[in-house]
């Protein structure tokens, strides 16, 4: 099973050297109080009695040298950490993006696009940070705590037990507080989410709110929710406000105890010196700082592990759609059998209801085929089966007489041009979007496609012409312009089949008519048009009527008016009586 953290394996060197250098720094730091106690015990005495200042100055310089060495070795560690963590993040990001791009649409829809995006940005980032922390901090804090403990035991084993008590006590308190606040994080997040929802709702419905003069109602709703949030945060803040004072209390009570117990050892038993006592106090303070750092680490890693879980699920997702790398489709003559559906059914998961069932129809090369039906009637699923974005659950789909699964998936996609409901353009230029259709297309071909898609007139007027910059999501073009450009992009592909999935809805009737004429004039191009409006399909060679996931009827407009109940109903609703019943 692939794990997100497995990408660490490319950074073995960094993972060994980084922490080693970090430990070196910790070791230097632990030496400092020893040297200081030497200065206090021996240095002052020597200076006082023999006028020998070297025992003060030399250890002092050594401490300074240790500090500089410590900095150098940490810098080495930070360097390795930045390489490993950023490199890890880069590899993981690439791998995840690749995985997503190759995911079947069924999986994409089951997981949800929003979740995929979050995984790619937030989750990978958190993992990346956690890798840096593994190298930089994970060993530092415990080493300081354990090192201080060991030093304390070396100095005086009896006093050292106070240390042990402190470490245990503080760990328990930190654990309880962290555990509590990690629980609370979820309920706080829920409150924030509901604020976001309300603000979103309000902005989207501003006209309705104003029409009902309900502004104050909304504001009041919001205020109640912020009050809820405030009350929740009150508790969280109460607990968080305890952390620092409590740890301060424990450490300083411990110092009191250490001073108290050492006093008799210094005075009566001579087993301890004042210099050693000061170094014990310093070790306690070092523990204090390190333990606070641990609590930050715990937060980082709890988040990282949640992210790891999500990313791992994605990385290990079994691909349900196999590309058999079979042969590429060959060419056939007009009128020959192009697509054949035999008793085809599809459901997302075993045991769930069929989205489409018992589909039976044939589309011949060159035919213009319409598909009509209400929402949820299975029109779009039908297209996805033809594109083999999904594999059928039952039945046979034949393409040019052979099982669709026998073709190479990419070669199959070369055969089909899809124009989506929500005409999507990518950030770039008009040219770069058109070239998505076919990389080697010449400017002449582009212009021809633009003309056929009725897009040339407006593209011509743009100062930069084909190099016109398209913003993210094509925001700087109107809906109709986007639709015409995405049709041009599909036409440039010169494919066997053109699928227009409700993709002329933003065009006015005259433009739509002209565009349809252009496409219908391409005799070799098999075209499948999905539409809500009867008027868009009237000239089609055959119309497939979908109803509740099944093919209700197939025929020309005139035939269907006679034999199809569903088609007649749709027709009547669009051409029948007006609202004015009187």
């Amino acid at each position: 099973m692939a794990s997100s953290y497995s990408y660490i394996k490319y950074f073995k060197k960094e993972f060994i050297l980084g922490p080693t250098f970090k430990m070196l720094e910790v070791f230097f730091e632990l030496l400092m109080p020893f040297l200081m106690s030497y200065i206090i015990d021996q240095g002052i005495d020597a200076a006082n009695n023999y006028g020998d200042y070297t025992k003060i100055v030399v250890p002092g310089i050594i401490i300074f040298a240790l500090a500089v060495l410590g900095l150098c070795s940490t810098l080495v560690c930070q360097h390795f950490a930045s390489i490993a963590s950023q490199g890890f993040g880069t590899r993981l990001r690439n791998a995840l993006f690749k995985k997503i791009m190759n995911m079947s649409l069924r999986n994409v829809e089951l997981i949800g696009k929003g979740n995929l995006n979050t995984a790619l940005s937030n989750d990978v980032n958190r993992l990346q940070v956690s890798v840096a922390m593994m190298i930089r901090l994970v060993l530092r804090a415990p080493t300081i705590v354990i090192g201080s403990l060991i030093c304390a035991f070396i100095i005086d084993w009896q006093v050292a037990f106070i240390f042990l008590g402190v470490v245990v006590l503080i760990s328990i308190i930190l654990f309880i507080i962290l555990y509590y606040s990690s629980k609370k994080v979820i309920s706080v997040q829920k409150k924030v989410d509901s604020l976001v929802t309300l603000t979103n709702d309000s902005l989207n419905g501003m006209r309705v709110i104003k029409a009902f003069n309900n502004e104050e109602v909304e504001v009041k709703k919001f205020k109640n929710k912020t009050q809820d949030y405030f009350n929740e945060m009150k508790i969280v803040n109460f607990v968080n406000a305890l952390t620092n004072p409590l740890t301060f209390l424990i450490i300083n009570v411990a110092i009191c105890l250490v001073v108290y117990f050492s006093s008799s050892q210094i005075i009566n038993e001579h087993t301890l010196s004042t210099g050693q006592l000061t170094s014990l106090i310093q070790y306690l303070n070092q523990c204090f700082v390190a333990l606070i750092a641990v609590s930050n680490l715990v937060i980082i890693f709890t988040r990282a592990f949640a992210s790891k879980k999500r990313v791992d699920i994605l990385l290990n997702l079994e691909e349900d759609l196999k590309n058999n790398l079979g042969f590429a489709p060959f060419s056939i003559k007009n009128g020959e059998n192009l697509i054949e559906f035999n008793n085809v059914s599809f459901h997302y998961n075993k045991g769930e209801n069929n989205v489409v069932k018992n589909l039976n129809f044939i589309i011949n090369k060159g035919e213009k085929v319409g598909v009509i039906g209400g929402t949820g009637s299975g029109k779009t699923t039908l297209i996805k089966l033809i594109e083999r974005f999904f594999d059928r659950s039952e039945g046979d789909i034949l393409y040019k007489g052979k099982d669709i699964k026998d073709y190479d998936l990419n070669a199959l996609h070369e055969e089909i041009s899809l124009v989506n409901q929500k005409a999507v353009l990518f950030k770039g230029t008009i040219k770069s979007n058109l070239l998505m259709g076919r990389k080697e297309a010449s400017e002449e071909e582009m212009v021809r496609a633009l003309k056929e898609a009725c897009a040339f007139d407006f593209v011509k007027k743009l100062p930069e012409f084909l190099d016109y910059e398209i913003e993210e999501g094509g925001k700087n073009l109107s809906g109709g312009q986007r639709q015409r450009l995405s049709i041009a992009r599909a036409l440039i592909k010169n494919s066997e089949i053109l699928i227009l999935d409700d993709s002329t809805s933003a065009l006015d009737y005259l433009t739509e008519k002209e565009l349809k004429t252009n496409i219908f004039n391409k005799k070799d191009l098999t075209t499948i048009i999905i539409a809500q409006r009867v008027s868009s399909l009237i000239n089609c060679d055959k119309i497939i009527v979908m109803y509740h996931g099944e093919v209700e009827n197939i025929g020309t407009h005139e035939e269907l008016l006679k034999k199809s109940k569903v088609y007649k109903e749709i027709y009547d609703s669009q051409y029948g009586d007006s609202y004015e019943t009187n």
Binding site: N204, Q282, G374
Partner: protein
């Protein structure tokens, strides 16, 4: 108002918190600073006893320890109070800001809402207030705790031993200056990183959202290549950013440790001198206890300086968020200068020479004259995106005409109170609005005190009673804009909402697509009930529904190009004629 004075206006509402947390900070910081002093004194007692061979500790030793104990408890109590009061105070301030921004969004003109990305506005309400929260918490901690800590430590240090005091005061700021200049130099990496992260996010979002297209164009590999090259860029800047970001702590430690070494050396030397001849350096005598005290003082003194480096970016983010919020709060309220109320049925609606443009240089309506009488049905038709909703915007005064007047019963709409004007209208838009809440809450939105019978009657008339009853919890089923109801069902619910209020004039916007035939018929029927005997404006997408209208306005490219009755318009053989025939294609 300037951002800072805006913030101040919120802060000054809570003088109690400001003063009490200042008092708490004074108490706890002073106690905290004095504890090391007492430990030092206690150790001196030990040394003294040891040296004099009395072997019995003086009472002063126990006094120091007990006094230290009291100070520790004071720290516990007052640091807790300080942190808690500080966070409460900041939460209160941010709640106020949040509420006010949200309120402001409901007071500004619709054009402000239309011309800003909703995501951005939401982010101002939620994220920016959060940033201010974080900045205020650490800002106040720094201001109170940091400054007091520096001051108290400073005073105590100099009283105790001025030479060591100078050593600490001179050395400490080094760390601060080094990290500051480092942050300044490496800022470009962070900026570069933020930029690439933003771009990559946009690319990934686009690719994932349109993965079906990418697959159908066999574009996966190109997309991956593109992503990879961006990712490589990110690696280059990101690694440098990470490295320079991770330098702060080690450098601070270096400075602290160096101070530690130097303080230790100087203090030990002073000790030696002190032993030699009691009082050589005016009041700078030193003991072992002093060494310990100063080691801790140098940490205490440095801590606020070190924390500034982590607090500065937070405050910077907070300030830019404050500015974004202040921009919203400074936005003009929508003018509502009218005083008149319209109570009765409106007999006439007149558009007189109305010009209108969303921007000043581009008029979308020019010299529109229109007279609508009570009970008339006005249809507005034209290709999508031709500006049919402009008329609604003008009628409900979401926008005001650039020139000309709109009059209700010969009263300029500008003189009418907006609330009163809007009360006369019922509106069903194509983009139906369902907010997160129960079905019932959604329906009684315009009439909170509606009785159960009224609700049932309205939903029955709007053809949605049956399906609501089939929902898991009936009227109390929780729904939101994304789930629970189909597009058509949402439209029916919003019709019921208007049905319940039953206003005098109707504005109806037909749904274009994505609704199945049965639901569509239900909606038509409900529309008919709504319009019965009322003045109505219908935005129509299908011409069959408007043949009987009293007046048809034909719009194209944002302008009204033809107006008249169906038959007159047909005989004119103009755009409407063409439009009508195109829609009916082969049929007529």
């Amino acid at each position: 108002m300037k951002p800072i004075s805006r913030l101040f206006s919120y802060i000054k509402k809570y003088p109690f918190f400001l003063i009490s947390s200042l008092i708490c900070a004074l108490i706890f910081v002073t106690s905290m600073c004095l504890t090391p002093l007492l430990f030092g004194k206690a150790i001196d007692e030990i040394t003294f006893t040891f040296k004099t061979s009395i072997l019995i500790l003086n009472d002063r030793f126990y006094f120091y320890l007990i006094f230290a104990g009291i100070l520790i408890v004071l720290v516990l109590i007052f640091e807790f109070l300080f942190e808690y009061l500080n966070s409460l105070f900041v939460e209160k301030v941010t709640k106020d800001i949040k509420d006010d921004v949200f309120k402001k969004l409901h007071e500004v003109s619709i054009s402000y809402i239309d011309s800003n990305y909703h995501g951005d506005l939401v982010s101002r309400v939620i994220n920016d207030t959060d940033n201010i929260n974080i900045a205020l918490v650490s800002g106040f901690r720094q201001l109170y705790q940091g400054i007091i800590q520096i001051l108290v430590t400073f005073v105590v240090m100099f009283v105790l031993n001025w030479i060591l005091g100078i050593v600490v005061v001179v050395l400490t700021p080094f760390g601060f200056f080094i990290t500051y200049s480092l942050a300044h130099k490496t800022n470009k990496y962070f900026k570069g990183q933020a930029k690439i992260v933003g771009e990559m996010g946009a690319i990934a979002l686009e690719d994932i959202n349109n993965i079906d297209l990418i697959k159908s164009f066999n574009y996966e590999d190109d997309a991956l290549e593109n992503f990879k090259s961006q990712n490589d860029e990110l690696y280059k800047v990101g690694q440098k950013a990470q490295f320079s970001g991770s330098l702060t702590n080690p450098i601070t430690r270096l400075v602290n440790n160096s101070t530690y070494a130097i303080v230790g050396m100087v203090a030990a030397l002073l000790c030696a001198f002190t032993f030699k001849d009691g009082n050589i350096l005016l009041g700078a005598s030193c003991t072992v206890g002093t060494i310990l005290t100063f080691i801790q003082f140098s940490n205490q003194f440095a801590k606020p300086f070190n924390e500034i480096s982590s607090c500065v970016p937070e405050i910077q983010t907070g300030l830019s968020s404050l500015k974004r919020i202040n921009d919203v709060l400074n936005e003009e309220k929508d003018v509502n200068e009218g005083k008149e109320k319209v109570e009765n049925v409106i007999k006439t609606i007149d558009f007189e020479h109305v010009d209108f443009g969303y921007t000043k240089d581009k008029l979308v309506i020019k010299g529109l004259n229109l007279e609508v009488k009570e009970g008339q049905k006005i249809a507005i038709v034209g290709p999508t995106g031709c500006g049919k909703t402009t008329i609604i915007n003008l009628l409900l005064r979401f926008y005001d005409p650039t020139n000309g007047q709109i009059k209700f019963d010969n009263l300029d709409t500008k003189d009418i109170l907006k609330e009163s004007l809007r009360k006369s209208f019922g509106m069903v838009l194509q983009d139906t609005w369902i907010f997160s809440g129960t079905v019932r809450e959604n329906i009684i939105y315009g009439k909170k005190d509606a009785s159960e019978e009224e609700i049932i009657e309205a939903t029955k008339k709007a053809n949605c009673y049956d399906f609501i009853m089939r929902l898991p919890n009936g009227f109390d089923t929780y729904i939101d804009d994304y789930s629970g109801l189909s597009v058509g069902q949402k439209q029916l619910v919003s019709i019921a909402r208007v049905m319940l209020v039953n206003p005098k004039i109707m504005i109806l916007d037909e749904a274009t697509s994505n609704i199945d035939t049965r639901t569509e018929m239900k909606i038509s029927a409900a529309f008919n009930i709504l319009m019965k005997g009322k003045t109505a404006f219908v935005i129509a997408h299908r011409l069959s529904t408007i043949v009987n209208s009293d007046l048809i306005l034909v719009m194209k490219d944002g302008k009204i190009i033809e107006k008249g009755k169906h038959k007159d318009l047909l005989s004119k053989k103009g755009f409407y004629y063409e439009f009508y025939n195109a829609q009916y294609a082969k049929i007529n």
